[in-house]
C-alpha cells in the first residue's frame, strides 16, 4: 500500500486508468468511480456513522468509499431486517441510513444513492484518508450472545486486502475479472469483492451473479484471468445446473466446509483450481487450502499464529490487535493445520454465523413465550442449508404468530423451521435440556401435526 505522509492511505492503490467495475452492463474506470464517490461524499448528512444498506454492489462500493472520504464510518449489519436496523439505530443514535432503494427503511435520516446521478466532479489526485480512521464496523455474534461491534481501521482493511490479493493475483499482476456470489456487507464479501479491486488491477462484476445462469453470463463478460468468489452452496448449484461455463482461473470458497468431491467437480467443470479460504469476521481471511490436493490448511505468510491455553491466537501487521479464534485447530509439525470443530454455541447457515444463545434469548424475549429452545435439526452439518428447529411453550400465541414476530429481528436463514408449540420442555432438575429428548419431542410433535 502506498503510504502518504501523516499515515494517510490512498482510497485506490492501483493503476488509475484501469477498469474498476462492470455495472449496469457498462465498464467503469477508476476515474469515474472516484468521481462518483467524491461527488456523493459531499452530499452525505453530517453524522459520524452511516448504516450502509446498499444492495447493488457498485453502489455499495461507491457509498462505502464516499463515507470513508467524508471521515465517517460504515456500519455493516449482519442482515437487512427492520428489527436489525432499529437495533443498530438504538446502539448508534447518531447514525444515518445510506441506501439504494432496495430495503424497507425505518423513520430516520437517510440518503438514497443511485447510478450516475451525482454531479460528475473531475478528480485530480487520488484522495487519501488517515489509516487510523475507523472505516467500518462489522458485527459478529460473540460467545456471550449479543452481536459484538468490531472496528476496522482503513489501515487494517487496505493492508489486509493487499495480503489477500497476493494469494490470487500472483503472476497475474496485470489484473483480471472478479465475480462474487456473496453479498458485499459480510467480511468475506467485503474483503474479496469490495476491497480487493481497490488495491489490485482487477475488475469487479457488480450486476447480478446469484443463480448459476447469472454467474455464467457474468464470467463471460469479464476479461481473463477470472476469479469466482463463492460458497459451497453456490458451487453446488453451479455443478447441478449442468450449464457450460467459461474457464475460471481460481475459485475461492468460504463460509462453510467444502466437500472435496464438490471441489473436484467444480475444478473439472470450470477448468479451474478451487482454493478454500479460512477466516473470521474478527480478523478477516487468514488461511487457505487446496482441498483436492491437501486436506490441511496453511496460514497466509503474513499471519502469525500461536497456541495459548488451548486456543489459537493470531496477529499480523495489518491487525490492530491479537485475535483469539473460536475454532479448535490441530497443528502438524510443519505448521499446517486441521479444523477440529467450532465453539458449540455458534451456528453457521448460508455463510452467516449466529449464536444459538442469542437466538434463544430472542425467542424467550417475545411476549407470551413461557419457555422455548432453538436447536440443530438432526441433519444439521451435512448441508450448508440445514435449518434450525424450535420448540416453544406458549398458551397465548400461535406458532405462526411467534414466527412472524421473530422474523422482524432474526435473519431469515436463522429462522427456525419448523417452530412447534409444545406443552412443556423436558428439562432436567438442573434446568438442562438433553438433545436426544428435544429430538424425540420434535419427532412426536411432527407425527401429531
Amino acid at each position: 500500500m502506498m503510504r502518504t505522509p501523516g499515515g494517510r492511505l490512498a482510497v485506490l492503490s492501483r493503476k488509475p486508468a484501469g477498469q474498476l467495475a462492470i455495472s449496469g452492463g457498462r465498464t467503469i474506470d477508476c476515474g469515474s468511480f472516484l468521481a462518483d464517490a467524491t461527488a456523493w461524499a459531499e452530499r452525505l448528512p453530517d453524522r459520524p456513522y452511516a448504516i450502509n444498506l446498499c444492495v447493488d454492489r457498485y453502489l455499495f462500493l461507491v457509498g462505502f468509499i464516499a463515507v470513508v472520504l467524508r471521515g465517517q464510518c460504515n456500519l455493516l449489519l449482519p442482515g437487512r431486517q427492520p428489527g436489525t436496523i432499529h437495533e443498530a439505530l438504538r446502539s448508534f443514535p447518531d447514525a444515518w441510513l445510506l441506501h439504494d432503494g432496495a430495503v424497507e427503511l425505518p423513520d430516520a435520516i437517510a440518503l438514497g444513492i443511485s447510478h450516475g446521478s451525482a454531479s460528475a466532479a473531475h478528480v485530480g489526485a487520488i484522495p487519501d484518508v488517515p489509516g487510523a480512521q475507523t472505516a467500518a464496523i462489522v458485527f459478529t455474534s460473540g460467545s456471550t450472545g449479543a452481536p459484538q461491534p468490531m472496528r476496522k481501521s482503513w489501515h487494517t482493511l487496505v493492508e489486509g486486502a493487499r495480503v489477500n490479493a497476493g494469494y490470487v493475483s500472483g503472476d497475474a499482476a496485470g489484473g483480471g475479472g472478479l465475480v462474487a456470489t456473496v453479498p458485499p456487507w459480510h467480511m468475506y464479501g467485503l474483503e474479496w469483492s469490495v476491497l480487493f479491486p481497490l488495491v489490485a488491477d482487477w475488475t469487479i462484476y457488480c450486476d447480478e451473479a446469484f443463480f448459476p445462469a447469472d454467474i455464467r453470463v457474468a464470467l463471460g463478460k469479464l476479461p481473463g484471468p477470472r476469479v469466482l468468489v463463492s460458497t459451497p452452496l453456490h458451487l453446488r448449484a453451479i455443478v447441478k445446473s449442468r450449464l457450460r461455463f467459461p474457464r475460471v482461473d481460481t475459485v475461492l470458497c468460504a463460509t462453510a466446509p467444502l466437500d472435496s468431491g464438490l471441489a473436484r467437480d467444480v475444478e473439472q467443470l470450470l477448468s479451474t483450481h478451487v482454493l478454500e479460504i479460512y477466516g473470521c469476521s474478527e480478523a478477516g481471511s487468514l488461511a487457505y487450502r487446496w482441498p483436492v490436493r491437501d486436506a490441511a490448511w496453511r496460514f497466509f505468510r503474513e499471519i502469525d499464529a500461536e497456541m495459548s491455553g488451548g486456543r489459537v491466537r493470531v496477529c499480523a501487521a495489518h491487525l490492530a490487535e491479537t485475535v483469539q479464534l473460536a475454532d479448535t485447530l490441530e497443528f502438524q509439525t510443519d505448521g499446517r493445520f486441521s479444523l477440529r470443530g467450532r465453539d458449540g454455541d455458534m451456528v453457521k447457515i448460508g455463510g452467516r454465523r449466529a449464536s444459538l444463545s442469542e437466538l434463544n434469548n430472542r425467542l424467550l424475549a417475545l411476549e407470551g413465550v413461557d419457555d422455548g429452545i432453538v436447536f440443530y435439526p438432526p441433519s444439521f452439518g451435512l448441508e450448508d442449508s440445514g435449518r434450525l428447529s424450535a420448540l416453544v411453550v406458549s398458551v397465548s400465541r400461535s406458532a405462526e404468530d411467534i414466527r412472524q414476530e421473530l422474523a422482524t429481528v432474526v435473519d431469515n436463514v436463522f429462522m427456525p423451521r419448523p417452530i412447534r408449540l409444545v406443552d412443556g420442555l423436558p428439562r432436567s432438575d438442573a434446568g438442562k435440556l438433553r438433545r436426544e429428548d428435544l429430538l424425540k419431542l420434535l419427532h412426536v410433535e411432527r407425527g401429531r401435526a
Binding site: 445462469a213 453446488r236 450449464l243 448460508g350 442449508s385 431469515n412
Partner: protein, 90 residues
Amino acid sequence: MNHEEHRLAALIVDVLNLEDIRPEDIEPTEPLFDGGLNLDSIDALEIAVAVAQSYGVHLRAEDEETKSVFATLRSLSEYIERQVSLRQAS
C-alpha cells in the same frame, strides 16, 4: 391450483423440506418470499437448481422479469411453462 402448479408446489415442498406444508397448502397467488412461505435467498437458489434439473429452465436474477417470476407459485409456474414451450418451438 392447476396440475402444473401442483407439480411445482410438490417440487418446492420436497426440495426445501417444508415438512409442515402440503403442496396444496401453497396459495398460487400468495407471495413466496416476503410473507407467505417466508422463503429466503438460499431457498431461491435451491428452487432454481431444482427447476433447472426438472424442467431444464435456467432462472436468472438479472432478468427484470425474474423478480416478478419468483413472486408467486402461479407466476413461476407460468414462466416455466412459457420457457418450456419456447424451447419446444425452437
